[in-house]
């Protein structure tokens, strides 16, 4: 692990004029202790007086891909921005209420909610043995579903211990995609419980097709297509874009807008 994200933050800091969270410390040496240093350096979010603490601290991230440009690992990292970290229910709403809803996003964009310290990337230590449940939504549902999903995560509704890593909402051309990431793809009891909780908190119709995908498969798949062909957080997308040659096969075609 290195501190790509920190570097990225510094690169970008021109835009966020009043951001005390991105100190200019480009002179910092690259060392193995960087992560540790980074953690110590980063101001820990703590619940304020009278606020309702969350079980875990979380960060919100935003990423966007310019259409037509190859989504290399490099550009994924360059295109992802950390919006903020919070430790309480109230702090969450502060950020959330000052952000646009996913359904109002334009273009090829994603919001990510991850536990503080876990980067929304397959390669993160917390994610590398993990996987994600994917739900494809027809247009118009993303804002509501995303809100219900993240409220369930923040409120610890999944009851799978430390397994949840985060969630992503991906806004795409014809559909939107929700995914929830967990640590251990091979833990079937956990993945089944996450699936069942998802059905409940999103009020999904019983016939909803839900797809579980391990991150190692996502990485492998990207490699067979050549390096850097897809967005790291969003494994299957590129396949559809490049001609519907999606490994998820017929499952994909049955969902959402085809069945409305």
């Amino acid at each position: 692990m290195n501190n790509k994200f920190d570097a990225l933050k510094d690169d970008d800091s021109g835009d966020h004029d009043q951001d005390p969270g991105s100190p200019k410390d480009g002179e910092k040496e690259k060392s193995e202790d960087e992560d540790k240093e980074q953690n110590a350096r980063r101001k820990m979010a703590v619940p304020g007086a009278g606020e309702h603490p969350l079980q875990f601290n979380y960060s919100l991230w935003y990423s966007r891909r310019t259409p037509g440009r190859p989504a290399s690992t490099q550009s994924y990292e360059q295109n992802i921005r950390q919006i903020g970290t919070f430790a309480s229910v109230e702090q969450f709403w502060r950020f959330y209420s000052h952000m646009i809803r996913p359904g109002d996003l334009t273009g090829h964009s994603d919001f990510h909610l991850f536990k503080d310290g876990i980067k929304p990337m397959w390669e993160d230590d917390a994610n590398k043995m993990g996987g994600k449940w994917i739900i494809r939504l027809r247009k118009g549902l993303a804002s509501r579903c995303w809100e219900n999903l993240i409220l369930a995560i923040l409120g610890e509704q999944f009851m799978v211990g430390e397994e949840i890593c985060g969630a992503v909402v991906s806004v795409r051309f014809q559909e939107d995609i929700l995914s929830i990431w967990n640590k251990t793809a091979s833990d079937q009891a956990t993945t089944a419980r996450i699936r069942d909780t998802l059905r409940r908190v999103l009020n999904l119709p019983p016939n909803t097709i839900m797809e579980y995908k391990t991150h190692t498969d996502s990485i492998k798949y990207r490699r067979t297509l050549g390096p850097h062909t897809e967005n790291l957080s969003e494994g299957v997308r590129i396949c559809n874009e490049s001609g519907g040659n999606d490994e998820s096969g017929e499952g994909y075609l049955c969902v959402d807008w085809h069945c409305v």
Partner: protein, 114 residues
């Protein structure tokens, strides 16, 4: 008869977390919730701070929740309006969600026609 019965080792109850209640609004909305969230102190998985959707949505209207966060990066179209579109501007200025998410939690979960 087995004489060496297995003894379960006693474990201390996880440490107490104190929650200050300064305001009646911080009190839980029902009797199965403790202030500061429901504590499942000795359930598998240990202590968890659990909030249901309704409670979380109620907290949205708290004064803190309405204050813009410090250090919010300026991302046009995401944390600030891209254009002078009055609707979007209003949305951000009022800290009010788009109509579909400005509910207070007492509405039923929507039916999703997938």
């Amino acid at each position: 008869m087995s004489t060496d019965c297995q003894k379960t080792t006693a474990k201390a109850i996880p440490s107490t977390r104190r929650v200050t209640v300064n305001d009646a609004e911080h009190m839980p909305h029902d009797y199965c919730t403790t202030p500061g969230g429901t504590l499942f102190s000795t359930t598998p998985g240990g202590t968890r701070i659990i909030y249901d959707r309704k409670f979380l949505l109620e907290r949205r209207s708290s004064p803190v929740a309405k204050t813009p966060p410090r250090g919010l990066p300026n991302i046009p179209g995401v944390t600030s309006p891209t254009t002078k579109d009055p609707i979007k501007k209003e949305l951000l200025n009022n800290n009010v969600a788009s109509p579909e998410s400005s509910h207070t939690g007492d509405d039923a979960q929507f039916e999703m026609d997938i």
